[in-house]
Amino acid sequence: MKTIHTKRKIFLFTLSILCTFSASADEKYEQLANEVEALKKQLEQVQSALKEYQEESITKKEVQELNQKLEESVVTQDDVDELEKQVAEAGEWNSPNTLIHMAGYANVGYASDSESYSIGSFSPIFHYQYRDKVMLESELEIKIDEDGSTDIALEYLTIDYFLNDYVTVVAGKFLSPVGQFRQNIHPSWINKLASAPPGFGHDGAAPLSDVGFQLRGGFDFDNSSANYAFYVSNGPRLIAAQEHDDEFEIDGIEAEGFSSDNDGKKTFGGRLGFLPFKGFELGLSFATGKATVTEVELEEDVHAFKSLAFGTPGDEGEEIDLHDEVARDYDVFGIDFAYQNNGFELRGEYLKSKVGAADEGITASHGATWETWYTQGSYLIPNTRWEPVIRYSDFTSATESRSQQQWALGMNYLFTNSFIGKATYEFNDGAFDTNADEDRWLLQLAYGF
């Protein structure tokens, strides 16, 4: 029994020791497990930070690759030129043989003599060009009459064939190349005053337009150049006024471009321009041919025009047969000049038109002469948009009541180079109690486009 008790004690002792050891191992395990868990969290944080770092950073190689791509992506002028060239060649409509363009000008204003606002004109110019070979160009003049109706006139319509660098053939209705004002200066955005010089409008000394064909062009020399325009045309028509029972006198020249030649005799003319040095041009003009009376103004009714030859008899009175009127001599001579230098401009023009006498025919009478000239100076004040203008004109008409001397003063404001505001005052000296003797203000806005 004692042995059994001893073994029992030994077993219990051993068990207690084992239990003690067992309790100690559990604590260490728990501690180790916690440490491992903490290390795992730290490792995850490090791995996450490393991953984030790797995503945000680039290598030197990647930097080089990016630089190369950046270099390749820079757009150079050559690249742009090449691209534009490719675009130009890409589509059929990007480079058509035919170009269409509308230019022109318009003006509105106020005149003190009529105390009225007015629409001067709207003048669209159509350009239709086939490559560099030929151009059709036409200008219309659209106006509103006092009664509100709209008038449309064909100012010119020509087909211009560019024969070579020095010659252009122009056919159709064209602005008269005699002188400078009519063919180049009359558009309202170009004319520096709000009115044309006396004698350069309707019923004046200068021919306005004609129907026929021209040869035009120019030549360049070392430090100078020249230009020319020569034409053959149907020529003008004449108006006769009845003075007494069977006496007539030539009242006016209608040189506004007729599409028929009533006397069958052509008019020849042209202008030769020289530019001997920069800024200066001198022009010589002429025209010669025949012209016939086609209308008469009767003494008893100055408003009744007779023109049986062309089928437009007057409203009242007897009919007059003008079929057998004699073709009279018609001659024009002109000289013009222009000088420009840095905003200063001086230009002038002289024109003389002469119609010969007729011994036969209903309107047989002496000849008649129209003479006009003007000189105009202007200066665009430096660093401003203001441009003062002064012009003197002297027009001597075969019809005395239309003769006029005029001083015109103007001040222009250039909103842009082709949009101009004009204030013009005319000091007019003409026949007593006529419009030609009345001073007036003209205000105008002119726009060229």
Partner: protein
């Protein structure tokens, strides 16, 4: 049609409106004609010939294709030779582009490889037509470079910006096109011409 009848417009005016609508509706195109002219001669011819009758039009007033018809119209009207017309047209077409920042238009490597022009060469080829041999200007709006308080008294940076991008003075009737209208000029060329103008004209 009803509208036309109401305001009593003649049939010919209807036709006119129709034609006008066709013209107004035309789009920008890039024609392959006429053959290219000489830019420098064109600048000179433009400055000398257009003012014979009217104020100079800004090259940016019209598109390239519009300048073609306009130049040929003026060839007839002013009695220009074909070559002079092409020269003027080339100048106008190359001067109506919108300005580009210099950094976008040239590479440094290009500038290094290119033989830059001297300031005098740039001035005599591109600037002289409008600014004149004496720097006093030959066209309305061109400044007087000999004015001691004039445009050349500005800093090089300001002058560079104005020349590179084009500039229009407050009261000038027209603008100078970017790079004087010559897009081939580099930044170095522009720097050279600024140095030349200041040494030659500034009192």
């Amino acid at each position: 049609m009803k509208l036309f009848n109401q305001i009593n417009i003649e049939p010919s005016f209807k036709t006119l409106l129709f034609i006008a609508a066709l013209f107004i509706g035309s789009n920008s195109i890039a024609a392959d004609y006429p053959e290219k002219g000489d830019f420098q001669k064109g600048a000179k011819a433009w400055a000398e010939n257009c003012v014979r009758c009217h104020n100079l039009r800004d090259p940016k007033d019209l598109r390239d294709d519009q300048w073609i018809t306009t130049a040929f119209h003026m060839r007839v009207r002013a009695g220009l030779t074909g070559q002079k017309t092409r020269d003027i047209l080339t100048f106008l077409q190359e001067s109506n582009n919108p300005p580009r920042p210099i950094k976008a238009s040239i590479k440094c490597s290009d500038a290094e490889n290119k033989n830059s022009l001297t300031g005098q060469e740039v001035y005599e080829q591109t600037c002289i037509a409008c600014h004149g041999k004496d720097g006093k200007g030959t066209v309305p709006g061109a400044p007087d470079f000999t004015d001691s308080k004039g445009v050349l008294s500005q800093s090089d940076e300001v002058l560079m910006k104005h020349i590179a991008e084009g500039f229009k003075s407050k009261n000038s009737p027209m603008a100078m096109p970017a790079k004087g209208g010559n897009p081939l000029l580099t930044e170095t060329d522009l720097s050279n011409v600024i140095i030349y103008m200041k040494s030659e004209f500034k009192k």
